[in-house]
Amino acid sequence: MIFAVAACAILFTMALTLSRGILGPTTYDRILAVNSFGTKTVLIIAVFGFMTGRPDFLDIAFVYALINFVGTIAVLKFFEYGDLGGARSPDEFES
């Protein structure tokens, strides 16, 4: 019961975050939205795990937390330098 309430609250927030991701306006806003969306996914997976009584889910939540971090860094690096390895001038990427 309490898990359902929490899940609904998180889902609602996911919708809010998603609209920020779609609206933008800048790319940084989108990255921020994706990052915080990832956080919420971790939470909702944990809560769902409890709802269905299978705490195995926590491993997945952990993977999420991890991937979320690596992904955000990759995106940022890409955005700052223009590709994943090299350091190119960032001015090509005004959006």
């Binding site: 309490i2 898990f3 309430v5 929490a6 609250a9 998180i10 609602f12 927030t13 996911m14 919708a15 809010l16 975050t17 609209s19 920020r20 800048t26 940084y28 806003d29 990255i31 921020l32 939205a33 990052n35 915080s36 956080t39 919420k40 971790v42 939470l43 944990a46 809560v47 409890f50 705490p55 926590l58 491993d59 939540a61 952990f62 937390a65 991890l66 979320n68 971090f69 955000t72 860094i73 940022l76 955005f79 700052e80 960032p90």
Partner: protein
Amino acid sequence: MQLLTDILSWITILTGSFFVVTGGVGLLRLPDFFTRLHAVSMPDTLGIGLIVLGLVLQAGFTQTSTKLIMIFLFMLFTGPAATHALAKAALHGKLKPLASEKKDQEESSP
């Protein structure tokens, strides 16, 4: 005892959910990117913290709780790092913050 932990976890999870939702609302309402950063740090700290605390209370002292706490700690370490990196990138990407550089420190502090 069972009732007590149930009530406690209800309270914590509900408060946590409240902060998560507030974070979402803030993400939409606040006017520019840098202020939105603040909205995100709310669910990232208290929101997750309280919900995890509530879940831990439900699970009791088991392996599940230790895993939950580990996830929480992991996010507590990586979250600010990611936020900071994002803010720094935005600052260097010539995104103008909607804020006054605080040079009038002397006149405003008395």
